[in-house]
């Protein structure tokens, strides 16, 4: 492996985490990472070494994920009604049920809000870097971020209440 490939291998845990915050299952997440890795390798000459490889790969993953959700016939915004009587435990995220509640709440977000939340909250990107990855103005990023997080809060508080 050359330096580019070694850097890519070092990124795999972060790419998996980003994918997991977007997709429904571990398998889907790893499939998304694999697709993105292969596209990244095929297009490696397009990456400028003075820029963030992680951000470049996140952008590739965004496009791959949107292609995938489109081809599955989904429209982004999932409007399934909240499940009742889930018996979800409260608070402590060491509890696997509570983790599932967050995942379910993320799945209910429209795709553009989910991407914003995943990049900023999960991956810790700055607003400037996240808006570059998503190829949107920073103002658009912050409004999607705020809408996504207030929606998550309402959903998770409702379940815990």
């Amino acid at each position: 492996m050359d330096a580019f490939q070694r850097d890519l291998v070092a990124l795999l845990p972060r790419l998996r985490r980003f994918a997991r915050s977007l997709t429904r299952s571990v398998t889907d997440a790893d499939d998304l990472v694999q697709t993105a890795v292969e596209r990244g390798l095929a297009r490696r000459s397009q990456w400028r070494p003075d820029t963030s490889l992680a951000s470049w790969m996140f952008t590739i993953m965004k496009h791959a994920w949107i292609d995938e959700t489109r081809s599955r016939g989904r429209r982004g915004a999932v409007t399934a009604p909240p499940e009742l009587a889930e018996g979800v435990a409260d608070g402590g995220v060491a509890d696997p049920l509570a983790r599932t509640a967050v995942e379910r709440a993320m799945e209910r977000l429209p795709s553009d809000q989910r991407l914003a939340v995943a990049l900023v909250l999960v991956e810790g990107l700055s607003y400037a870097e996240a808006s570059k990855v998503l190829e949107i103005p920073e103002g658009t990023l912050t409004s999607r971020l705020v809408r996504g997080r207030t929606a998550l809060m309402a959903e998770l508080q409702g379940l815990g209440g």
Binding site: T35, A98, R99, S126
Partner: protein
Amino acid sequence: MEISDQTLIAYLDGELPEAEREALEAALAADAGLAARLQAHQALADQVRAAFGGVADEPVPERLTAAVAARPVDSGNVVAFPSRRPAATRLWGGGTAIAASLAVGVLIGQAFLPRTVVGAGVIGPDMTARGALSQALDRQLASAPPVGPTAVKIGISFRSTAGPVCRTFRTNAVAGLACRRGDGWRVRMAVPTDPQAAGQGGYATAASAIPPEVMALAGSTIDGRPFDAGAEARAKAAGWR
């Protein structure tokens, strides 16, 4: 003063400018309700981070590391020579000057093929692969590369969005992309390589390096993923159809 969720969130994310930050902290100290709202946003952020944070600590599945590694690479002290725009000196041997029209160095599709490229023996004037290149495309697997300085190197193989199987290749003279057509191979892109680079400055040519223009074409043509070793073997067994 009404403080928005956006301000609270920006503050939590470290994105609030200094002046606004001081004003907000003063307001938080004075307003228990505002502090409770901030607390709620903090709790949500912690909850989301905790839900996914552990993923980065998981062992990475083998297939992902393999996907990164599944490429021909430069090894050790080998330097990848960029595909060079040839000067007016011979590239193919035989003392033939390169025509000015070759200065671009990239031959795509139906472009006119100068006799010098044809003279190298591996690409015909109709852009079909010939000789050693044709044989290598038919028989060689990337997973079993031959040795020797005159050997043809095969890079990746894949199904193109147009349908045919395509393979990247590199010889002493030329590197490029060829796609299956009928019983033969049509060269979709050919880039001169520089055999004079061998032995310069203590470095050997990166014998397996496919030039970036070729990889860019491959990337825009590929349908899905490059073949792994198993898929490549199956494609060969099926006559690359």
